[in-house]
Amino acid sequence: MATIWKRGGWVAGALAVGFVTAAAAQAPTGTPIPPAAKDFASDAVQASQYEIVAAQVALAQSQTSSVRAFAEEMIADHTRAQEAMTKAAIASGLPAPTLAMNSDEAHLVAALQGVRGADFDKLYARQQVLAHSQALAVEQSYASAGADGNLRQAAQGDVPMIQHHLEMAKTLADTRG
């Protein structure tokens, strides 16, 4: 489960994608450094792809109505978010991001595929809290300080959605955990 943090949107994540500058090193502790436009768009679309695939697993594997309702909402919202982000990227002359998961996200889905029943609900809820916490950090940072106007606007649209998802995920984790 810790793997998700390996590519977090915080300084560690920025390091991984190579944005470290002298200025960044002086940023106040805890302030996420917005990634480059292309990397942000790709990260955001991948994060949504994980949400969609994980929700598809949930709908096939969970009988719990609150989990299923949550999953339905994830598919609807993240499909919309993916479309909006793709449009924004194209409007800014960037290549359309690939609808794929990164390897950490693939590991999360593989873990979901291996559990059932109450264990599934618990793991799904826990993953959702982590994934949305991470997404929120990335999107908030771009929404406030991202360089590309179109993507910044898309990020600003995503932030309240992700905040709402995170709240729901926490409730789910509290009740299913």
Binding site: V57, A60, Q61, H107, V109, Q113, G114, V115
Partner: protein, 331 residues
């Protein structure tokens, strides 16, 4: 390494042209002909269906003909060129999945093919037998349950008898049941998996050995699971590790006798094994989504590997495992 370029969409007319070419004397085979399409390039991400797939499940052992989408075993696409002309092969689990893809490819490459399958898989097996015969070679369908040692020995004897010899054994049949917890695996379940995946290859290879002349090939289907097991495949994954391992010990043992032993390690491949209890419901719907290519592999995409490991041109390959993992897993 993998002969995927040979796999091109062709019409039935082209196929019969290719079959005609195959029937020509061996001398003519060495000259490349234009009868069989070759080469080309296709995006591996979009070449075949991608998840999500419709939720589906079948009672064990499952039929390829009832899967949605239907798997591609190379029925309309595999074009042979005489690479296995005159060979005699036994393929377990030859009715569907990778075994079926191997059976179709072997037949179109000129080999006589015996296939083993469970009686419940007769419907799939009949299609394969028809495809083998359409390639102009001999087909020997031999149904039966591999958990029975006496049947395994009879299977080999019957294959030898019907094909008038044996030089290639593809130990491919496998049993896989997804169970989230070791606590829920009964002794009977565990025994079923071990008998099918570990004992049967032992019984079959042991029985086949006296018939295998130098130049013969043994090919075992292992899995990405041998190297990176899923938590719900505790029993199955360890049998695939055992298979990977016996490929290497037998290669050492049989190399001095001129018999090659190799393995094939598939990643997530769209086969009846998965939709008949082998994968969780969620894994079926999102099958292959975790692979970097974003989709499951189709059995047809492994046909060329089995051919390569069987054919005489691959004469220095032994004790090796060839993969088709879609970017995930090893080797």
């Amino acid at each position: 390494m993998v002969d995927t370029t040979r796999r091109t969409m062709v019409t039935a007319a082209t196929l019969s042209a290719a079959a005609a070419a195959m029937a020509r004397p061996a001398a003519a085979q060495s000259t490349p002909t234009a009868t069989a399409p070759r080469g080309g390039i296709e995006d591996p991400r979009s070449k075949y269906p991608k998840p999500p797939f419709p939720a589906q499940s079948q009672p064990f052992p499952g039929l390829a003909s009832r899967m949605d989408p239907r798997p591609d075993h190379g029925e309309t696409s595999y074009v042979g060129s005489g690479r296995l002309k005159g060979r005699k092969a036994l393929i377990t689990g030859g009715d569907s999945g990778m075994g079926r893809a191997a059976a179709i490819a072997f037949a179109r490459e000129g080999a006589d093919v015996a296939i083993n399958y469970l009686p419940a898989e007769e419907e799939d097996a009949r299609e394969v037998v028809a495809l083998i015969r359409a390639a102009g070679v001999k087909a020997a369908p031999i149904p039966g349950d591999l958990r029975n040692p006496a049947f395994c020995r009879r299977l080999v004897a019957e294959a030898v008898n019907q094909l008038n010899g044996l030089d290639t054994v593809v130990s491919n049949a496998g049993h896989q049941k997804s169970t989230a917890s070791i606590a829920d695996i009964s002794d009977e379940d565990f025994d079923w998996t071990m008998k099918t995946n570990i004992y049967a290859p032992f019984w079959i290879i042991k029985a086949a050995l006296p018939h295998l002349e130098p130049g013969s090939a043994i090919i075992a289907t292992t899995s990405e699971q041998a190297y990176d097991p899923s938590p719900d495949l505790y029993d199955y994954a360890q049998t695939k590790a055992a298979t990977m391992n016996f490929v290497k010990s037998l290669a050492k043992q049989l190399g001095p006798k001129g018999i090659r032993v190799n393995g094939v390690a598939p990643g997530p491949i769209w086969t009846p094994l998965q939709v008949s209890g082998g994968a969780s419901e969620g894994k079926v719907v999102t099958f292959g989504a975790t692979a970097p290519l974003g989709r499951p592999g189709q059995p047809a995409e492994l046909a060329g590997i089995y051919v390569r490991l069987a054919e005489d041109d691959g004469s220095y390959t032994t004790g090796n495992v060839y993969g088709a993992g879609g970017g995930q897993g090893q080797p």
